[in-house]
Amino acid sequence: MQARFMCGALVALAGSLAAQAPVAPTVAPKVKGPSKAEFRVGGIMVQGERNYDFLGSIGTATGTIKGVEVLLRGSGAGLYVRSMSGEFGTQPIVVSADARLLLGRPGFTIFAGVGRRGLKGLKDKVYDMVQGGVSSTLSIGGTGLRTHISGNIILATEKDEPGGVAASVKNASKGIEGEAAIFYRLPKTPFFLNLGYRTEVFNAVSGNNDAPEEVRGLRLGAGLQFGGR
């Protein structure tokens, strides 16, 4: 239900693309929209909390996720790679890395990817995951500000799950990740700043046990951006 809501919002947001279409010139050349090639590399930090349900016991801890992300895209396709590591109090360290293939223009993009997610604690747990979702990035005129929304579904299996592939599929962990942010590129420089909110919910399945958790918080970022205005 929640995922459907996010998808609907993204579709509606993409519809506003028509409103920012540039004025057609009286003669050639044709005006191009904000669909130029873009390369972005930057650091991200999520300042927030990790809530979990461990065998019926609800806990919460504040902490920080740090990571890097790289985006490379043209007008119709792109690649996004991200690596993060988060520490929340005495809880296990959450480590994840994923890569996504992007299809479509920035205004409305469908993406799919693979990744690995791990909990590093008393007993390490590693999950291989696939994911798919949609995103929308819109430029607010020529100000350098862009809004960004993305949402995706995660399916993951515990690495070395006893019982083989069948057990892995049967006991697949599920998750949803969502982000809403603004990116501001400083005038006449390749530097950008990022402010937003990120939530990731994940229900890790290990054997017969479920371990639901939610990691959410203020997302801050900065880095270099070339193109993509």
């Binding site: 920012q20 994940f202 959410r216």
Partner: protein, 361 residues
């Protein structure tokens, strides 16, 4: 005498007939008339020689050389060796008239004798004479192109040249030189980068002033035919057509920012308050952690920042249009340069052809 009169009548008829024919088809009938006058002079028929020679002066088509020769026959007829027939005053006056416009004239040997030569020298000493020469066909090119007439006199003087159009008498050129007895009067054929002449016929009046209170004045007139095609210029563009300029920015984003602001801010709020994990974290469970308070602030910040950006937006620069306008501006500048260069070339290569009829009248 009667025979000479009959021959003269026949020759004059021939002359008139020839004048009616094209110039190129003419023979030399005036020379024949002069020859007739000289023959009469040789036959000691001085009044007849004088009469025939005077008729040459009335012929419009007689050249300067023919006129000079006719005048010399008249002077010789007025001052022969036979004392009884000598009229020195008449001869001197005739020679002076001749030397005024052809001061370098020489008496042909067949008319010459010591007394006449002496009289010629007396006339030469006492007459202010001028001679006009030059290239009959001259071509002047460009703003500095010029034509020239050579003037020469037996005394230093002041020479003035006036060129007037035969049609309308408009003065085209006035020029002069002074303090010389031998020089060129040069005149340009363009003024202020425009042709002075139009194609047509002109009169060239050259006047020589003898210095001194009792100085003489001699005037010579030449015919001039000018070939000067109209000098036309390309129109140099002065203003660009602003209607062809492309818009260099998109329209202001303005209120259109409301939708992305609300959607992004709403999504942030949703992520912080509505998206929960399963199990005991689910929203329906009493153990749910609930909304994350930071989310509302972030959502509000996103909304405000997006709206502010939208209303502060001046439009996105349309790079292609900027380049197109720049190219249009450069093309406009180039069209100015091209037109100016072409007009400059037309000026510098403009040719005026002048054909002087140097037969002094």
């Amino acid at each position: 005498m009667r025979l000479a009169g009959a021959r003269l009548a026949i020759l004059l008829t021939v002359c008139l007939f020839n004048f009616a024919r094209p110039l190129g088809a003419q023979g030399n009938p005036i020379d024949d008339v002069i020859r007739l006058a000289i023959d009469a002079w040789n036959d000691l028929k001085y009044p007849t020689a004088d009469s025939i020679a005077r008729r040459v002066l009335t012929m419009q088509s007689a050249t300067a050389a023919q006129r000079s020769l006719a005048q010399m026959v008249m002077a010789a007829a007025a001052y022969p060796e036979e004392k009884a027939d000598q009229k020195p005053a008449v001869a001197l006056a005739t020679l002076k008239q001749l030397l005024r416009v052809n001061y370098d004239a020489k008496m042909p040997p067949e008319l010459s004798w010591a007394g006449l030569d002496s009289l010629m020298e007396v006339a030469r000493r006492t007459t202010f004479g001028m001679q006009v020469t030059g290239d009959a066909a001259q071509t002047a090119i460009g703003v500095d192109g010029s034509a020239k007439i050579h003037v020469k006199s037996n005394k230093q003087g002041f020479f003035r040249l006036i060129i007037t159009a035969k049609a309308g008498n408009a003065v085209a050129v006035v020029d002069s030189i002074t303090g010389t007895a031998d020089g060129d009067i040069s005149f340009k054929t363009m003024r202020d980068e425009k042709p002075i002449f139009a194609t047509g016929d002109y009169n060239v009046l050259i006047t020589a002033f003898e210095p001194g209170a009792r100085g003489d004045t001699v005037t010579t007139q030449l015919a001039l035919r000018v070939e000067a095609p109209a000098l036309t210029f390309l129109t140099v563009p002065t203003t660009m057509d602003s209607t062809k300029m492309l818009k260099e920015r998109t329209g202001k984003y303005g209120a259109k920012a409301l939708l992305p602001a609300l959607l992004t801010g709403g999504a942030a709020f949703f992520l912080s308050s509505q998206l929960h994990g399963g199990g005991g974290l689910a929203a329906s469970e009493p153990t749910s952690i609930g909304a994350h308070s930071v989310g509302a602030g972030v959502a509000g910040g996103i909304v405000v920042a997006t709206l502010l950006a939208g209303f502060a937006d001046k439009g996105r620069v349309i790079t292609a249009n900027v380049a197109a306008n720049k190219a249009a501006g450069e093309a406009f500048q180039k069209s100015i340069v091209d037109a100016t260069t072409e007009n400059r070339r037309r000026i510098t290569e403009y040719r005026t052809v002048l054909n002087f009829d140097l037969g002094v009248r």
